[in-house]
């Protein structure tokens, strides 16, 4: 999934968001000195390759009342992890879903799914739904709630990247 210098310039110009103007891609094209069609075509090509995950608006879920979240973790049989991870990730209350290595003996879990809800009780109910979906393929599970944000900085790629 390689990107070239022109792709990178488009990424740098739009990673803070699209300009709120009637022809936003023409605006970006003007900043970069390239034709509007090239910006559109390159974004479409990056989307087709998965470099652009999606082009959309992300509501602030906290502002909409979805203020509770928990990191659920599951020990799922390795031979079913791909299939089950895909099903968990597709749930509309799961914002991140990853397969990660276990760290035995400290940590037996390999599937991580961040669950969101309006309350802790709703998060717990969603966790039970995932447990039912996974069934006996999940040999153990836990959920970790954050108690404090210790650091949070934006992930920004520098020009040199």
């Amino acid at each position: 999934m390689m990107i070239d210098a022109a792709d990178r310039r488009i990424i740098n110009a739009t990673q803070g968001g699209l300009p709120l103007t009637p022809a936003p891609y023409a605006e970006v094209a003007g900043w970069l000195g390239m034709p509007e069609a090239e910006v559109i075509d390159r974004l479409a090509a990056m989307q087709a390759r998965g470099i652009v995950r999606r082009l959309a608006l992300a509501p602030n879920h906290y502002a909409l009342g979805v203020t509770a979240n928990g990191m659920s973790v599951w020990d799922v049989a390795d031979d079913r992890a791909d299939e089950l991870g895909a099903r968990v990730g597709a749930l509309d209350y799961v914002s991140h879903c990853y397969l990660r290595p276990r760290a035995l003996p400290d940590w037996p879990y390999n599937l991580f799914a961040m669950i969101h809800g309006q309350s802790r009780a709703e998060v717990e109910a969603k966790r039970q739904e995932i447990a039912a979906l996974l069934g006996p393929a999940a040999r153990a599970s836990d959920i970790l709630y954050s108690t404090r944000i210790l650091k949070k900085t934006g992930l920004r790629l520098t020009d040199g990247g």
Binding site: I11, R54, P59, G89, V94, D106
Partner: protein
């Protein structure tokens, strides 16, 4: 970023329709606001004005392309540590001093500190994790992602 719920009356039905519809996608075309607005029954100017206001109110975290951070050339690793309570604040200071630590959360678990290392190059992850182990004397468990699943996350406004 705003982390508290907006008052119930902060959003009208059109605002909610915009938030719900544009989560699904935004057109890649010459006049995308006109196109998206037509589907919502509002004109281009009104859609732009409402998105601007929603962003100012904190109802929107992001509007535009969402990039795969690894495809952009970065490397990332979730890490966890079991930090003794009496040393917690001192360890926070040591860990957060590393610019590679992008975010760090205290969690209610024996592994009570969870942070993400983000670097421009893959070898930077291991270097930062080893430095943190040397400075703190604590084991840094590394949980690099093996696979990321497609995400269906949507909130109803």
């Amino acid at each position: 970023m705003r982390r508290a719920a907006l008052p119930q009356d902060a959003l009208d039905a059109t605002d909610r329709a915009i938030l719900n519809a544009l989560q699904e996608g935004f057109p890649l075309s010459h006049r995308p606001f006109a196109e998206a607005g037509a589907a919502l029954g509002i004109d281009e100017d009104e859609l732009i004005a409402r998105i601007r206001r929603l962003r100012e109110e904190g109802a929107i975290t992001r509007f535009g392309p969402f990039f795969d951070a690894e495809a952009m050339g970065g490397a990332f690793c979730l890490c966890a540590m079991a930090v003794p309570t009496e040393r917690f604040d001192a360890v926070v200071t040591l860990v957060n001093a590393h610019p590679e630590v992008a975010h760090n959360y205290e969690r209610a678990h024996r592994l009570n500190m969870w942070f993400v290392l983000a670097t421009d190059r893959p070898d930077g992850i291991e270097r930062a994790a080893r430095a943190i182990e040397a400075e703190t004397g604590l084991k840094v468990l590394r949980f690099p992602k093996l696979k990321e699943f497609f995400i269906g996350f949507r909130v109803t406004a």
